[in-house]
Amino acid sequence: MSMNAVSKQPVATMLAPAVILIGVFIFVPMLLTIWLSFHQWSSQTGFNTAEFVGLRNYEDIFGPLSVGRDFKRAFTNTAIYTALSVVIILPLSVLLGLLVYQRRVRGGTFLRTVLFATYMVPMIAVALVWSKLYSPTEGPINQILAVIGIGEQPWLSSPDTALVSIVILNVWQQVGYFTVLAIAGLTQIPPSLYEAARIDGANAIQEFFGVTLPLLRRTLLFSAVIAVINAVQVFEPVALITQGGPAGATNVLTYHIRRVGIERAQGGIGSAMAVMLMLSLIVVIIALFAFARKGNEE
C-alpha cells in the first residue's frame, strides 16, 4: 500500500458507527451492570437514585433467605440445563454430521436441510408447538409412546422431568446448526490421513477415534463455547409455558434475572446475579480452552 493510500485512511469515520453503537448499547450497560451490583437501586428510577451498599447484594444472593435460595436454584438449574445441552448436542452433531457428510447413500443434504430448518424457527413457536406435543393426555408424544407400550409421561408438568423436557426441545431446535459446524470441520480433514490409516489396517471405528475425532477438536471447542452461550440464554419456553415451575424446577437465570431486575425492579440484586452469570461463563470458557489445549499436548 502506498503512502498516499495510508494517509487516506479515515479510520474514525469507518469505525464510528459500529464502535459508538456497540460501546453505548453493550459496553456501557455491561459496566453499569457491574457498578449497579454494588448498589441498591430500583430499575424504575434513574441511575442517580442508586445507593452504594458494598457487597450486600452478593451476600443476599448467596444467603439463606428466599433471595438466595431462588438464585442458587436458578444457578443450579442453568448449570444442569447447560451441561445436559452440551453433552447431548456435541456428540449428536458429530454423528449427524457424519451421516450428512458420507457419500455412500443419498439423502445427506436433505437431512441437513431438515435439521437446519428447525434452527430458523423462532423459539417462541418452538415453545408453543412443544407445549402441545408434551401435553400429558392428548399430546402426540405420549400417544406415540402409548402405541409402543410406554405409559403416560408428565413432561413439563412434573418437577422431575420439566427441565429435561426443555433441554430436549432446545436440542431439537439447535442441533442442525452444530451439525453444519461439524460438517465444516469434517471437510477440513485431509483425505490422505484416512488413506494412511487404512494402509495401517485401521477399521472404521479406529479411523473415527484415531483421525476424525482428534482433528475435530477445534470445531468441537468452538461448538462447545457457542452451545454454552446459547444454553444460558434459554428464556421463551420458561417464560411462556412453565413460568419457572413446577416448584422452581425450570427457573433458569435469564428468566430469573429479568423477573427480579425488571419485573420486581430490584435492579441491584438482578445486576449482582448478572455479574455472577458473566463470571461463571468466563470460567467455563477458560476451562473449555484449557481442556482442549491439554488434549492437544497429549
Binding site: P29, G46, L111, Q233, L277
Partner: protein, 288 residues
C-alpha cells in the same frame, strides 16, 4: 467453503454400517426432526373438534382455515407482521452498513490499537444479552424510546458477528481494486459501498439473511422494552399472547395457526437461500 468438493471418510467395501442401516437412519432422523413442524402445520388446519379427538386425528379430514381467521382476530396478525417486518428490515440494513464500514477498516487499514479494538468488539459476541438487559432497559427508557419500535431497533444496529464476517471476506478483496478506485478519486465511503460491497455479495447475502431471521425471531428485548404496548408487538410477541388461549386441546388449532404464520417468513427465506446460510457458518466456524 470446500463442503461440496472433498468427500472421503467412508468406502463401500469398508466394514461398518450397511447401506440399509444408513438409509434407515437418514429417513428415521429426518422424520423425527421434521415431525414437530409437520404436526404444527397439520394441526393448524384441524377443526377444534378434531383437535380434541382421542385417539388423535393426525391428518385433518376436512382441512379448515377456521383457526387462521380466528387467530387474526385474537392477535391482530397483520399489524404484528408489519411490526416484525419493520424491526427485521431496519435492523438488518443498519447491521449491513455498520458491519461493512467497520469490517473494511479492520481488513484494509493499518492503525494503532487495531487488534485491541477488534478483540474488544468481538468479545461482545460471547456476552449473553441478559447480562446487559437491566441497565439497557433503564438507558433506553431514559432516552424516551421505550414502548416504541425505535427502542426495539436502535440498540441492535451494529453487532460483532457482522463485523467479524465482513472483515473475513473483505480481507480477500484485492488491494489493487481499492487502490485503483482511490486513484480515480473515489472517497473511502464510496469505495466501501460501490467497490468493496459488490465484491463480497455472498457474504452480504449471508449476513442479511442471518440478521433478518435473528431479529424476526428475537423475543427477550422487544418483550422488555415494549412494556405491554401491544400495538407495536412483533409477531413473536403476539404469539406469546396466545398463551392465555393455550390451555387445553380446544385451542391447539388456533395456537398452531399462529405459530405457522410466525415460522413462515424465516423458513421460506431459508429454504430458498440455504446455501448462503450454510456457507457463512462454515467459513466463520472454521476460520474463527
Amino acid at each position: 467453503m470446500t463442503g461440496s468438493t472433498r468427500r472421503a471418510p467412508f468406502r463401500a467395501n469398508q466394514a461398518g454400517l450397511s447401506h440399509y442401516a444408513l438409509i434407515f437412519a437418514i429417513i428415521a432422523i429426518s422424520i423425527v426432526a421434521a415431525f414437530p413442524l409437520v404436526w404444527m402445520v397439520l394441526s393448524s388446519f384441524k377443526t377444534p373438534a378434531e383437535s380434541m379427538q382421542v385417539p388423535p386425528v393426525w391428518i385433518p379430514k376436512t382441512p379448515s382455515l377456521e383457526a387462521y381467521s380466528e387467530v387474526s382476530g385474537v392477535i391482530n396478525a397483520g399489524r404484528s407482521f408489519t411490526n416484525s417486518a419493520i424491526i427485521a428490515t431496519t435492523t438488518t440494513l443498519g447491521i449491513l452498513i455498520t458491519s461493512l464500514m467497520a469490517g473494511y477498516a479492520f481488513a484494509k487499514y493499518r492503525f494503532r490499537g487495531r487488534n485491541l479494538v477488534f478483540a474488544l468488539l468481538i468479545s461482545t459476541m460471547f456476552l449473553p444479552p441478559i447480562v446487559t438487559l437491566i441497565p439497557l432497559y433503564r438507558m433506553v427508557n431514559s432516552m424516551g424510546l421505550n414502548a416504541s419500535l425505535v427502542g426495539v431497533i436502535v440498540p441492535n444496529l451494529a453487532n460483532a458477528f457482522g463485523i467479524f464476517l465482513m472483515r473475513q471476506f473483505i480481507a480477500g478483496v484485492p488491494d489493487d481494486l481499492i487502490d485503483a478506485a482511490r486513484v480515480d478519486g473515489a472517497s473511502e465511503l464510496r469505495i466501501v459501498f460501490s467497490v468493496v460491497a459488490p465484491a463480497v455479495v455472498p457474504a452480504i447475502a449471508a449476513l442479511a439473511l442471518f440478521a433478518f431471521v435473528f431479529h424476526w425471531n428475537t423475543y427477550l428485548w422487544p418483550l422488555t422494552i415494549l412494556q405491554g404496548n401491544t400495538d407495536d408487538y412483533p409477531i413473536v410477541l403476539s404469539l406469546g399472547r396466545l398463551l392465555s388461549y393455550n390451555r387445553g386441546a380446544m385451542n391447539t388449532g388456533l395456537v398452531m395457526a399462529g405459530a405457522t404464520l410466525a415460522v413462515l417468513p424465516p423458513l421460506v427465506l431459508f429454504v430458498f437461500l440455504q446455501r448462503f446460510f450454510v456457507d457463512s457458518i462454515v467459513s466463520t466456524g472454521v476460520k474463527g
